[in-house]
Amino acid sequence: MTEDEGHPVTEDEGRSVTEDGRHPVTPLPAPLIGVTDTGAFGAGRRSAPRHHPAVQREGHDFVARVRTWAGIALAAVLGIALTGCSSTGGKRAEDARKAQAQGRAAVDTPRWTIGMVTHSGDGDTFWDIVRKGAEQAAVKDNINFLYANHDEGKEQAQLVDSYIDKKVDGLIVTLAKPDAMKAALARARKAGIPVITVNSGSAESKEFGALAHIGQDEEIAGEAVGEELNKRGRKKALCVLHEQGNVGHEQRCAGAKKTFDGTMQNLYVDGTNMPDVQSGISAKLQSDSAIDTVVTLGAPFADTAVKAKEDAGSKAEIDTFDLNAKVAAGLKSRALGFAVDQQPYLQGYEAVDLLWLYKFNADVLGGGRPVLTGPEIVTEKDAGRLEEFAKRGTR
């Protein structure tokens, strides 16, 4: 509650910031930086004369010198930050965009706590968008939103257990490793906590007693890709899997292979190591010049595939699953053919909102079937509009 009242930025205020192009932020940080600036520099100077004469105590001398230099460096960085303003892009432009996406609770229901546990690795762009959607819905629905993630099934189940111990009012989980989550979800059911599954696990969601499943069927998404490739008259495609052992990835490629009339090969790369991804794709393209399409399974890898294609001197079209700002820009400039979006923002947003609806009004969506958020084929026609949203981090 108090948190929401702290940022009373309405939509109108947000827009006025962008329109007149001023920086309402600068007056605040300026004195703040000034204080730290002299503080750091002063500390460096104060310590220097005290220790310098004592040359025999080399250690202290060294420490003093380090401190002086650190002070100078800090002052320089702050000085540059102060004077060298950029009139385009950067944090300020981002803040102006973001201002529109905040707000305050629109309802006066009690402050329920909802916990979300995903199988995301740390710092994953896709899951950041899911989380943003969930947080937005939580603000609107007056919900205390908790988030945790772990990419190992056992650990993810333990995190769910922790939220059950905390007696949360609702749970949102992904079922990428359904067997590992089974016991934890049974425990949630026993404790009377409503559960909604998102993203992966459409097959198991109902069986495990979840209210609804919100996500994309990976196989259907893959099939959509195969059909789109047929429409584009492609003959030989490469499906780049960036995570060995991910069931969803295998399904995507299998789905695409099913509907695609040409031939399709799988290529495994190490997604945590971008140079490896690039060299892997370019090596494959060099060895087989007949490949006319590369399909990547994640937005960050599309850009890498474009670089790999340039390295290899290939003319292949790059298509990708998922969307981010770079992919949208790539679509616009026609460096990429098309993208298949599953609207991660919607998955987070709807999950929180549906739990709120369930607590408030016992509403359930989907009628026992998965609520699909994709696949949505995005081409250069839609890219212009989506680029803006993707930059904001919500598409």
Partner: protein
């Protein structure tokens, strides 16, 4: 807990005239000299910290979750600590757990055999991998870091390769409907309800392993060999310690614990993901180090590793109970571990100074 209070009553003068080995030391002084002292104090500090920082931390059900998380680390930390006392590392310990579960599951499924057959085959295989590690190490005299790094990478590849070759997907098929599953589940993945709270059976396995390892270390000849081999291998060999046997035995210990952990994974989740376990070996090593085992060998304890695992479990879950932002999770985890280790180090130094 027991160790902090007597710290103040310990300034009694030791009698230096007699042979110090024949001296009878008082109980408080004996406790002060133990390697796990720092870890106990560290665990206590982390416990008190989260008791205040997180409301739901002190509930019985939360403690059961924390103990479960600690036990899954602790079961492996015990043999890893023994190995470290013996002066060696095992980087393959993390994926070996996954291998153990995969072997058991796939053997039973493919042969349509009683689940217990798969469990037995899995035990033999993990022990054999332990023997392989130990044999390669003692034969080539290469650092264990290199040998087990090789095993680690090979096992990672074998896990995925064989699973896809045999099952066609990256995870195994469920064996929950096969004969023997229920009885094996009782042993490896059941729950014991005490006062309305369910405790996982892994906690018992953990306690049992710590007890056995402590008995071996402190009461048997093999225990002396482990300390001797880790302290100075050549000197140990010179006085007749069977160095090769000891080291191979230590690696087999890791294999045994990996088997227990792997079977737990299998029987609690029915199916196993082939890509998991990577990175956990470092957590086991860290738990052993926090518990007072020296990375260079020759010093440490099994009880210490248990407290190291407990610190890990408390910190990992405490952050969730305290509702801290998950983005900072790894930072908090690292900072807590560093603080616990520093406290551990400081306490041990103070304890040694008063000896």
């Amino acid at each position: 807990m027991t160790a902090t209070a007597p710290a103040k009553k310990a300034p009694g003068e030791p009698d230096k005239t007699a042979d110090e080995r024949l001296l009878k030391t008082s109980l408080p002084r004996k406790l002060l000299g133990r390697p796990e002292l720092g870890a106990v104090v560290g665990a206590l500090a982390v416990f008190v910290f989260f008791s205040f920082a997180a409301d739901s931390f002190l509930q019985a059900s939360s403690l059961s979750t924390v103990l479960y998380a600690s036990s899954t680390i602790g079961i492996m930390a015990v043999p890893v600590a023994l190995l470290m006392i013996g002066g060696e590392f095992d980087l393959s310990a993390g994926v070996l757990v996954t291998s153990s579960a995969l072997i058991s599951s796939m053997f039973s499924y493919q042969m349509t055999a009683n689940v217990w057959v798969g469990v037995g085959v899995s035990l033999l295989t993990t022990l054999a991998i332990g023997v392989f590690n130990g044999f390669m190490l003692t034969r080539t005299k290469l650092p264990s870091f290199i040998i087990t790094l090789g095993t680690f990478l090979m096992l990672t590849g074998l896990n995925l390769g064989f699973t896809k070759l045999i099952s066609g997907t990256v995870s195994t098929k469920t064996i929950a409907d096969m004969e023997g599953f229920e009885s094996a589940k009782v042993l490896f993945a059941s729950q014991i309800t005490l006062g309305g709270v369910a405790f996982k059976v892994t906690i018992l396995w953990w306690i049992a392993l710590v007890a056995v390892a402590t008995w071996i270390l402190l009461r048997t000849r093999a225990g002396n060999w482990i300390f001797a081999v880790g302290g100075n291998m050549d000197a140990a060999r010179a006085v007749g310690v069977p160095v090769i046997k000891t080291k191979i035995g230590l690696y087999m210990g890791v294999g045994f614990a990996a088997w227990v952990s792997g079977q737990h994974l299998l029987f609690s989740f029915d199916a196993v993901q082939s890509g998991e376990g990577v990175g956990n070996e470092l957590i086991y090593i860290v738990a052993a180090v926090i518990g007072g085992s020296l990375i260079t060998g020759g010093y440490g304890s099994a009880i210490g590793s248990a407290f190291g695992a407990f610190i890990f479990g408390m910190t990992g879950k405490g952050i969730v109970y305290a509702e801290w932002n998950a983005d900072w999770y790894k930072f908090f985890l690292g900072a807590m571990l560093l603080l616990a280790t520093l406290l551990n180090h400081w306490v041990r130094k103070r304890a040694e100074a008063t000896k």
